[in-house]
Assembly symmetry: C2
Homo-oligomer: 334 residues x 2
């Protein structure tokens, strides 16, 4: 049978993504799954800034991507035909599908979607997004009740989850985002105590006002000058969690390193990087906690759903233009 | 009685030290110590890059320094007359004397010099220098046998101690220093396995050669491009200890922040700042271990002794020009 796929056509190293980085092809896959395999139809694709790093082929914590590979990415599938007990026909699963409409899989790495939540929750609050927020915040940031947690890229899928988890843990949450609408959403819907609009406001000055005793936990998705401003305002013993660096992706040039890193000395503070997959063994238990928080109404999430497989690369690009509102997904089929 | 003192005349903020930052004055102090006090004669002064930060008055982990204050610094004194049981007449003590030839003190913060080592050991390997090396390396860097430890500013008093302590702990030690003579000294005298001359060699390239499995512990005294190069070569799980940033002091402009900080993410690594005084309660126990290592011949140290109280500011400046060889001290009186 035939399926459409998006292949990687160029490594977008040190520059923004372009349409020509990906090529749409129609290719042939087996009509029937072999022994131990299943035929899966992709219903949604999920998008994450890390995908640009994969395409650049500089993120060496995952296997390299070569020109001509199906672009790597997560998705939700329905199993159409199964020769493996791991995947039940008619059921929905989440996993690394790649940018394809159909695939043959042995089910490795696929998880059934949560029965009580919409399927796309597995791409957002129960997926890498939510797990990243949980692990980065609780394993490294370790907020205590009364701590002030500041999150950059706070209106993104991970950032908005971090703020709410910080609130559940009894901390104060301050978010940094671009634009009035996002900032309003942070405070009114996502439970943040305060928001800073980096496009209109002086970030350093506002941090001083909003965090008079300093920042106990920094959760950075952005890098660049925003990370530097946050480092300038850390409290004694602060934990700085480096989750992402979207400012590294937006422009052709690498943003300057944070010259305020030396404040780690004056504040006896620490900065931590992490790869969430290192805690994969704990994902089932963490997913249960996240699902419970959603069901208790303590963890809201929003999905930005685009449509049409032909729009796949453009949908990824929305993450880097600030267009997306909440977790970016693409509906590929009903 | 009269004593000469060096007073702070200007805050050397964001620029190198100048002669005019300090003023030599002759001032009157009491001839006789009061009750609970002692009259002390300064024999040596010790110098540390942190003193520039104190004079700049930006290092807010210590009390601010005002124009006209006696410049803060460590020294070794002989007690000439004592009205306190804490300080014995004729004995030598180390403590914060300030830049003065004589002082009246109640003995707070003064420690007797070690009986088996030269008095200046209390300003170097048994002083803040050695304690900083010990605490930064073992409490934060935590080298394991077989780890590779890379130290910048390795020929400095702290750096040369770190390398030797790393060796004692079973790790490999690679030092970065400026100039052939310093690099030769690191390998031939200070027990480093290898040295990189940043003035002649490509630091990043040499790190790749010397640390093919990556750097497990970075101990940075320098900042700037050398820190950035080390961050580029860290191993998975690396600990980056920020001890100093002498490159911040050498030029009028703040060096760029380390843009390779994001490698902390790919390497699941961490970066730590510290103020050694936070571990003051442990200093007596750590000093015993350091003294034992010196006596066992496992911990060499060298003293760069200058002479004459009138040369005090110039002696501090030697730390920032790369002139000093080992711990910088000044002999003030016999």
């Amino acid at each position: 049978m035939k399926t459409r796929q998006w292949l990687l056509a160029d490594h977008p190293r040190g520059r923004p993504l372009k349409d020509s980085d990906f090529t749409l092809v129609e290719t042939e896959i087996a009509d029937e799954p072999g022994p131990g395999q299943a035929l899966a139809k992709v219903l949604w694709l999920g998008f994450d800034p890390a995908q640009k790093g994969w395409a650049e082929n500089v993120a060496d914590y995952v296997a390299p991507m070569k020109i001509g590979d199906v672009m790597r990415g997560s998705g939700i599938v329905r199993i159409v035909k199964s020769n493996t007990p791991r995947l039940k026909e008619g059921q929905l699963y989440a996993g690394l599908t790649g940018w394809t409409e159909w695939l043959i899989t042995d089910g490795a790495g696929f998880e059934p979607v949560h029965p009580d939540l919409p399927p796309t929750a597995m791409l957002s609050v129960l997926g890498t997004t939510g797990l990243t927020a949980w692990c980065g915040l609780f394993k490294l940031g370790q907020p205590k009740p009364g701590d002030t947690v500041v999150v950059s890229g706070a209106a993104g899928a991970t950032g908005s989850t971090v703020g709410q988890l910080a609130k559940v843990a009894g901390a104060r949450a301050v978010g940094i985002a671009g634009g009035e609408e996002k900032c309003r959403w942070l405070v009114e819907e996502a439970g943040y105590d305060a928001a800073i609009d980096y496009k209109r406001e002086n970030v350093r000055g506002r941090l001083k006002e909003l965090c008079p005793r300093g920042i106990d936990v920094v959760f950075d998705n952005v890098g660049g000058s925003i990370l530097n401003d946050m480092l300038g305002e850390i409290a004694t013993g602060a934990r700085v969690v480096i989750c992402g660096g979207i400012s590294r992706y937006e422009t052709g040039t690498m943003p300057a390193g944070p010259e305020n890193y030396f404040n780690l000395v004056f504040r006896r503070a620490s900065m931590h990087g992490f790869i969430v997959l290192d805690w994969a063994a704990e994902f089932p238990a963490i997913r249960k906690r996240l699902a419970a928080l959603v069901n208790e109404g303590k963890l809201a999430f929003r999905i930005d759903e685009q449509h049409g497989f032909e729009n796949t690369p453009r949908t990824l690009m929305r993450l880097f233009t600030g267009e997306n509102r909440g977790k970016q997904v693409l509906k590929v089929a009903d």
